[in-house]
Amino acid sequence: MKEVMKIGGKLAAICAIAAIALGVVNAITEPIILAARAEKLRLALSELSAGLEIGEFIKTDNESSIIGYYPLSSGEKTEAYIINIIGDGYAGDLNLLTAISNGGEVLSVVLMEDTETPGLGKEAENASYMEKFIGTGNGSIIPSSKSHLNAKDADSITGASITFIGIGKALNEAAGFVSQLGGM
């Protein structure tokens, strides 16, 4: 019995020391991690807002893929919205922030989080990937299938067409949501 206590005690001592050491490291790194996350969101929002004033985040309460939105205004007038929407990627969800004008034009898109395959869908993390969506909508089609693209752009998404379609569909939905908001 004494032997068991001794062994257990030693193991407990190792665990306790490990837990304390980790607590110390965590106390140092946690504020840095939180600050970096807030900074990432702030940077994305300031890029998306293009100088317009960002309003309060409004959560949508329904079960749709739209999580919520920020109104963008200049002066009193709401000019556009930043929509936070979840699209379907190849391997899982794509968390997108997109600025859409009242007229339904896609102004900019940022991919915040994804679980895509590196080298394929992951390419969507590059800012240039989103160029083919920008300026579409408001009369023209927001591309959500390969046939909407010119040959060069269609080539560039080869191997990542599911990611592309996922983003395209999400943007279409976001644009539809903005037109509803405008009607209110």
């Binding site: 001794k6 062994i7 030693k10 193991l11 190792i14 665990c15 490990a18 050491a21 980790l22 490291v25 965590n26 140092i28 790194t29 946690e30 840095i32 991690i33 970096a36 990432k40 679980t115 395959t117 590196p118 080298g119 394929l120 992951k122 080869t158 191997g159």
Partner: protein, 207 residues
């Protein structure tokens, strides 16, 4: 003494010869920089666990040695996880779940059990460095093949005016994308393992 260091690089290379630590080797080897980051994480954990296991070899009771080793290893892994998330968030994101999974990398527990608990601290450090570098070397080789063919680039650290990405002319415009996929990883690993076996055979025949 030096042989404790060099054995891990080629002769007992953990990935190509002993075939251990495969999940991270294939999971993160899409880009060279991911391999380097993973390698650095594994070297740190391996060093830490080898040093502590070797130091505590008379303190840790024989019966509970495996749980004790696991606690030591998991602590170092968690430190890597927290430090990487704080200071290298982009790398942390691209390595994803493979960072905490360093815990179950058989190489680390294997070295604690097979080497560090019977050897001096100094030998254990050399062993850890050798095995860690051997692991990193293997990951970089796999990543080089996969990234050059699959993306047409070689991604390293950004330094000064150099953005860290070397583009391979010809492949950048029409890469063989399958190399970047899960399937490509397994195919590349099979081909490299065959290459190593072939070289080994030739060497044996010569002797």
């Amino acid at each position: 003494m030096l042989k404790e260091f060099t054995k891990g690089l080629i002769k007992e290379n953990p990935v190509f010869i002993i075939v251990l630590g495969l999940c991270p080797a294939l999971g993160v080897s899409t880009k060279v920089i991911n391999s380097l980051g993973m390698g650095a994480g594994v070297i740190f954990v391996l060093l830490g666990s080898n040093i502590f296991v070797s130091l505590l070899k008379n303190f840790i009771p024989e019966k509970v040695r495996i749980p004790a080793y696991i606690v030591i290893i998991a602590s170092f892994v968690t430190i890597v996880e927290m430090v990487m998330e704080a200071f290298l968030p982009a790398l942390y994101d691209s390595l994803g779940v493979f960072v905490p999974l360093i815990v179950v990398n058989c190489i680390i527990l294997g070295r604690a059990e097979a080497f560090a608990n019977k050897n001096t601290v100094k030998a254990s450090i050399l062993d850890a460095l050798g095995m860690g570098l051997g692991f990193t070397l293997a990951l970089v080789i796999i990543a080089l093949v996969r990234e050059v063919f699959g993306l047409g680039t070689i991604t390293l650290f950004p330094m000064g005016s150099f953005n860290g990405v070397i583009e391979i002319p010809g492949l950048i415009d029409s890469p063989v994308r399958v190399f970047g996929l899960a399937a490509g990883a397994l195919l590349v690993m099979g081909l490299l393992k065959a290459l190593f076996t072939w070289i080994e055979d030739i060497r044996r025949v010569k002797q």
